[in-house]
């Protein structure tokens, strides 16, 4: 029996066991929506295409599945670009569909035509413009494979309207054969043996674990490694939640806003074990002084990350979970050393601190309370800014994958739609969005989506009436000349919440936080908590641009 390519598309998604699509319709993708009419797949109608792609991203991070979103041609497609770039930077698997003008009009500046495959080459793992309807099932099969395997990432499929309408015989391939795409999963045994030898003889090892641990679901192996060799563990921002935040071997986050203990440990270590981390500039600071005395072992599934920024002595290309399993089989238990005493001393000497009780509510206090109330067990989604860094510093994650945040692109506006996607992926879980007064206003139209989908999101706005992170940059780098960072007008967030039928609270003091935050988090439906916090607060410590991470200061 012949069906249209649009119907085939929907069948392919069913075969891939896609449960939910985040999208927004339009003319060029009409046929696909028509085909969805008869499908059991849930479609979540967002309020802006950026919301669709961030929601698919949040869903993917929360569930470990491939996120799927779709939009129409032209403006629908361009509205997706930020979210695609966001997923690309953080290695999140997405399959993104866009409608396109009919093939005969492609290249003619037709109404709502935009070269979306051209635009997204630099921000997708791969993309396709479908010219032959018969190829569509294979392309979709490939797209899911490419998105989810190796180093995950977004794949875009652009489907011209006439192609979508073409009738084809449906046949979904059950295997993939891409001769130019063969990720390596097993690390080289010789290299793993070498790593084991180095670990055996290291006096001051540090484990530097990144987002790759979460991609690979290797948290258990990470924990076993740390406890076997008694080495301290630091996480990148993207790696947070991969190691228990309250574990005695945990150093906290490293880098720009990392703990001094983590940064000192890395600076003084003799062996740096980098696991699924990409030596980002936020992490390394001045490169020449990053782990200057260390032998570096780097495990990464993407060979291009190895040796990109930092010279690596033992490169291991492979899936970090598999590599760790092999490595563990070659390791012997190592005992506590004077190195751990030194680490302990640094942790005692340099705890994260902020000053309380200055008559204003401190944002860090709110995060500490959040952590206390649910014991680090919630799924925390953040936006981008100071509030994001305070979550990184003060929330003690207990469950792998329970931090959902935009690390690589730092996309303000990611938070709310990502929380929508996360809550849809994890319907029974407590999903808390920690956002800023700036960030929430970039995508707050998705409150409509959240309500329509009846999501019990807990939205915490750390409202400092300022673009706090930029204010801090201006304080440090522009001699406190504050330019375009203060909001002189804000909507009344309580009224806004009421407009959407969301219960709301405004909290101004520690006492109010103590009294009302547990109630807010405990209520069954959606809640918006507007926390009026101190505007002058900075994220400390901070590594000034061009400095070594060991030279962090407070400002």
């Amino acid at each position: 029996m012949e069906i249209t390519a649009a119907q085939a598309l929907v069948k392919c998604l069913e075969k891939e066991q896609v449960e939910v699509i985040f999208g927004y319709p339009g003319g060029a993708i009409l046929d696909v929506y028509d085909a969805l009419y008869h499908s059991p797949i849930r479609h979540v109608l967002v309020r802006h295409e950026q919301g669709a792609v961030h929601a698919a991203d949040g869903y993917a991070r929360a569930t470990g599945k491939v996120g799927v979103c779709m939009a129409t041609s032209g403006p629908g497609a361009t509205n997706l670009v930020t979210g695609i770039a966001n997923a690309y930077m953080d290695s999140i698997p997405l399959v993104v569909f866009t409608g396109q003008v009919p093939t005969s009009q492609v290249g003619t500046d037709a109404f709502q035509e935009v070269d979306i495959t051209g635009i997204t080459i630099p921000v997708t793992k791969h993309n396709y413009l479908v010219k032959d309807a018969v190829q569509l099932p294979r392309i979709i099969k490939n797209a899911f494979h490419i998105a989810a395997t190796g180093r995950p990432g977004p794949v875009l499929i652009d489907l011209p309207r006439d192609v979508a309408q073409t009738r084809i015989k449906f046949d979904y391939p059950d295997s993939v054969n891409l001769r130019g795409y063969k990720p390596t999963y097993r690390g080289h045994p010789n290299k793993i043996a070498e790593a084991a030898r180095l670990i055996g003889s290291a006096a001051r090892p540090v484990i530097y674990a990144g987002g790759g641990i979460l991609n690979s679901k290797a948290s258990r192996e990470l924990l076993t490694l740390a406890e076997t060799i008694n080495a301290p563990v630091t996480n990148t921002f993207m790696g947070l939640s991969s190691f228990p935040g309250d574990h005695p071997l945990f150093l906290g986050m490293l880098g720009l806003h990392g703990t001094r203990a983590a940064n000192l440990a890395v600076t003084n270590c003799d062996l740096l074990i980098a696991l699924g981390a990409r030596f980002d500039d936020r992490v390394t600071g001045k490169l020449a002084e990053f782990a200057p005395n260390a032998t570096v072992v780097h495990v990464d599934i993407d060979p291009a990350e190895i040796g990109k920024n930092v010279q690596v002595h033992v490169p291991i290309v492979g899936d970090v979970k598999q590599v760790l399993r092999e490595l563990l089989s070659r390791l012997e238990k190592k005992q506590d050393t004077s190195w751990l005493e030194q680490i302990e001393a640094w942790k005692k000497q340099y705890p994260l601190v902020y000053r309380r009780g200055e008559g204003e509510l401190k944002p860090q206090y709110v995060i500490e309370k959040l952590n206390e109330i649910n014991g680090g067990n919630a799924v925390v989604v953040t936006d981008v800014g100071q509030h994001q860094m305070w979550v990184a510093q003060y929330y003690r994650f207990k469950r792998p994958g329970s931090l959902i945040s935009s690390g690589g692109l730092g996309t303000m506006g990611f938070g709310l739609p990502a929380a929508v996607g996360a809550q849809i992926g994890l319907p029974g879980e407590l999903v808390i969005l920690v956002t800023g007064d700036g960030s929430i206003q970039m995508t707050m139209q998705e409150l409509g989506t959240a309500m329509e989908q009846e999501l019990p999101l807990k939205i915490i706005i750390l409202n400092n009436h300022v673009l706090g992170m930029v204010r801090q940059l201006q304080q440090v780098y522009c001699d406190s000349r504050y330019m375009a960072v203060e909001f002189k007008f804000h909507p009344d967030f309580e009224t806004l919440a009421r407009a959407y039928g969301i219960k709301s609270y405004t909290l101004r003091t520690e006492k109010e936080v103590d009294q009302l935050l547990p109630e807010a988090l405990g209520s069954p439906g959606p809640v918006l908590v507007n926390c009026l916090v101190c505007a002058a607060e900075n994220v400390n410590p901070i590594v000034i641009a061009g400095k070594a991470i060991s030279e962090a200061v407070d400002c």
């Binding site: 495959t117 051209g118 080459i121 630099p122 793992k125 791969h126 413009l129 010219k131 490419i146 891409l178 001769r179 130019g180 795409y181 993407d302 060979p303 291009a304 040796g307 990109k308």
Partner: protein, 168 residues
């Protein structure tokens, strides 16, 4: 240092844009890039001459490999290979100078492919060095137009950089 890469790619639309975009986006310097079909109709071969130290070349290699459409990359710089480039040069040559120009052409085994009233158009193939020397010899006469194909290259002997595994 200059490296010569033989890159086999899927013969898909857009593959050139992906490769060229990668080079410009990541700040790699392309000296030349020549692309065309190979013995298999669905595979194209790019010969890319790229400038950079070991670290840069390692990144070029690895980043190219990440492109799904890139099948195989061979850095043949250190191998024995033949390389050729073709140039077309239109040079000033009024009847009085034609004799000299033709003598130069002779030395370089170039061919005259067109004659105008005041110009001669020459075709010459060879490696980089020869083409450069040819160009320099003609410069004094006034080059009106010049176009080079970019270099293509192939390993010597029985070794090859094709899709099949090497026999030796």
């Amino acid at each position: 240092m200059r490296h010569t890469l033989a890159v086999l790619v899927e013969n898909n639309p857009g593959v050139l844009a992906r490769v060229a975009g990668l080079f410009s986006r990541r700040g790699f310097n392309i000296d030349s890039l020549a692309v065309g079909r190979t013995e298999s109709p669905d595979v194209s071969r790019m010969t890319i001459v790229v400038e950079g130290d070991e670290r840069v070349l390692e990144q070029v290699n690895k980043q190219l490999h990440k492109l799904v459409d890139v099948i195989k990359i061979n850095d043949i710089t250190a191998d024995e290979y033949v390389d050729r480039e073709l140039v077309l040069i239109k040079v000033n040559a009024d009847p009085a100078q034609r004799g000299e120009v033709m003598q130069i052409a002779d030395v370089f085994r170039a061919r005259i492919v067109d004659l105008g009233r005041k110009t001669v158009t020459l075709e010459c193939t060879g490696n980089d060095g020869k083409i450069n020397a040819f160009e320099e010899s003609l410069r004094p006469y006034g080059i009106k137009e010049l176009v080079r194909t970019g270099k293509i290259a192939m390993l010597r002997g029985t070794k090859y950089t094709g899709l099949q595994e090497n026999g030796d």
